[in-house]
């Protein structure tokens, strides 16, 4: 593990490729994972590179993952690609998964997981909004 200076000169904690970290990691600077972490992570930002993997309980401001993640993730904003393994829970204020062309590689492969992002409109409120205009009952179209 080392502190590196990134392109923008801000300090980052780097778990380099080939490094396997087990345990709790708490950092005041951004964490970049090219190797693997098994355990808890708390940091302002976490970047998981395509070669990286994080399994555990994570609480960060920004999460960008192109690698493999599993466990419980709590973040303000999440940008996902790579793989989301089984039994993963992601809670985020904002979540983004870019849609790749059908001909291209799958952007994200999801295992069994739960995602809780944004603030869904209440079902009743959505129904009320949909029926606020002129109502008319329709019948199902001809098959």
């Amino acid at each position: 593990m080392a502190e590196v200076k990134g392109a923008a000169s801000e300090k980052k904690t780097l778990i380099e490729e080939g490094t396997r970290f087990k345990g709790s990691l708490s950092s005041t600077c951004a964490v970049v994972v090219r190797g693997s972490i098994e355990g808890d992570v708390e940091a302002p930002a976490l970047t998981v590179s395509p070669s990286g993997a994080v399994h555990g309980k994570v609480k960060v401001g920004d999460l960008r993952s192109e690698g493999e993640i599993a466990g419980e993730f709590d973040a303000d904003s999440v940008l996902l690609s790579g793989a989301v393994k089984d039994n993963t829970v992601i809670k985020a204020r904002s979540l983004e998964v870019k849609l790749q062309p059908a001909s291209g590689k799958m952007q994200v492969v999801f295992g069994e997981c739960a995602i809780d992002a944004g603030e869904p409109a209440g079902k009743e409120a959505a129904i009320a909004a949909a029926t606020a205009g002129d109502k008319k009952a329709s019948v199902p179209p001809e098959p």
């Binding site: 870019k98 062309p101 952007q107 739960a114 205009g133």
Partner: protein, 425 residues
């Protein structure tokens, strides 16, 4: 000969003396430490300042023609209106520097770092900016005609009203950049990335855009006249008012585009509609122009307890309220829940492509079974479980979408769901 010798320059800098208007033409000061020096209106033409440290130096209105600044550190330096014509700044650090109205014509900025630099109205004609980092920089009204920007990084840069006529932009990255009103005619932008860029009223006429990526770009009123766009990617681009007369669009990847005036996703177009739009044909708002095979459920309609089945390849758009309905879609069917559409207590099954701009709340769980593609746009809601097909679902979640979802692996039989466990056949 310069009026000051190198050791005299160093001494003056160490004493904190000003070198304003100093004549340092041809001076040789490699690796010199000149941080914070005041060289305003100084003359440094042809000087050798290789790897020198000039952090926060005041070089406003200075003349640095043909100056050798390879690897120099000019972080936060003031180079406003400086003359840097033909200057060699390869690998230089110009982060946060002020280069407003500077003349960089023919300069070499290869691999230089200009992230966060201010270059409004700067002149960079024919400059070499290969692999230069311009991320987060300000290049408004800058002149980049015939500039080489191959592999340059311009993410989140502000290039509004800039001119890049005939520039080489191959593999340059303009992700989230602001390019509105930029003049980019005859540019070579093969494999350039304009993902999520703002490109309203940009002129890219007669440009080469092979394999260029415009995914999610706001390209309303963009001009692609005569452009060569083979293999370009336009999925999710906002293209209201696009002009693409005589553009070569063979092999473009474009699953859907947004043709709405406001660029709010309210007018998604697919297939033949996109071809019509790029051909300059008006795609009208009303239902009669929808392609054959499209089923449209308008705003204000309410469907309850209905079972609907749509064959493969159909196109279905729902702007209505569906309650407790079961929808089966065939392979390749495009099902769009429009901005006003609400599906409450419903279930969708089948290997189609689902796009949600409105709201979906599941009934029986999993609410969505076997989709080959599922997109949830900004402001849309999806509450329910998704069971993926054997080939896995291709997901697209836009920032600002609202999700309470459980995703199950192929064949998981909704083991992760917390619904009532029943599955409709």
């Amino acid at each position: 000969m310069p009026s000051l010798q190198p050791d005299e320059v160093i001494k003056k800098v160490q004493k904190g003396e000003s070198l304003e208007r100093a004549d340092l033409r041809g001076v040789v000061l490699p690796r010199a430490v000149l941080d914070g020096v005041n060289l305003r209106r100084g003359e440094l033409d042809g000087a050798n300042l290789e790897a020198a440290s000039l952090k926060r130096a005041n070089l406003k209105n200075a003349s640095l023609r043909e100056t050798f600044l390879v690897g120099a550190n000019l972080e936060d330096a003031n180079l406003e209106s400086a003359d840097l014509e033909g200057c060699n700044l390869e690998n230089a650090n110009l982060r946060g520097a002020n280069l407003g109205r500077a003349n960089l014509e023919g300069a070499n900025l290869m691999n230089a770092n200009l992230s966060g630099a201010r270059l409004a109205y700067a002149e960079l004609q024919s400059a070499n900016c290969g692999k230069t980092d311009f991320s987060h920089s300000i290049l408004t009204h800058a002149d980049l005609d015939e500039c080489y920007l191959g592999g340059a990084r311009l993410g989140e840069a502000d290039l509004r009203n800039a001119t890049l006529r005939g520039a080489n932009l191959e593999e340059a990255d303009f992700a989230k950049a602001r390019l509105d009103h930029a003049e980019m005619g005859d540019a070579n932008a093969n494999l350039a990335r304009f993902v999520s860029a703002s490109m309203q009223q940009v002129n890219l006429s007669h440009s080469t855009l092979t394999g260029a990526d415009f995914t999610d770009a706001d390209a309303r009123k963009i001009n692609f006249t005569g452009a060569r766009m083979q293999g370009a990617i336009l999925t999710g681009a906002k293209l209201n008012g696009v002009v693409a007369t005589d553009a070569e669009v063979a092999g473009i990847t474009c699953e859907w585009i947004d043709a709405s005036t406001e660029g709010d996703g309210s007018k998604p177009l697919r297939n033949a509609q996109i071809v019509a739009l790029l051909s300059g044909k008006e795609v009208e708002e009303k239902a009669p122009t929808r392609p054959q095979g499209t089923r449209y459920f308008g705003k204000g309609d309410v469907l309850r307890n209905a079972s609907l089945e749509f064959g493969g390849g159909a196109s279905v758009e729902i702007e209505s309220l569906f309650e407790h309905c079961s929808i089966t879609i065939g392979t390749g069917t495009e099902l769009v829940i429009g901005k006003h559409g609400v599906l409450a207590g419903c279930q969708i099954q089948g290997a189609g492509n689902i796009t949600i701009h409105g709201h979906f709340f599941e009934g029986d769980s999993p609410g969505i079974v076997g989709p080959s593609q599922l997109v949830v746009s900004k402001g849309a809601s999806l509450v329910g479980a998704i069971e993926q097909p054997e080939s896995f679902t291709r997901f697209g979640f836009e920032p600002g979408c609202n999700l309470r979802v459980k995703i199950a692996k192929p064949g998981a039989q909704s083991s992760s769901s917390k619904g009532n466990g029943r599955r409709k056949k």
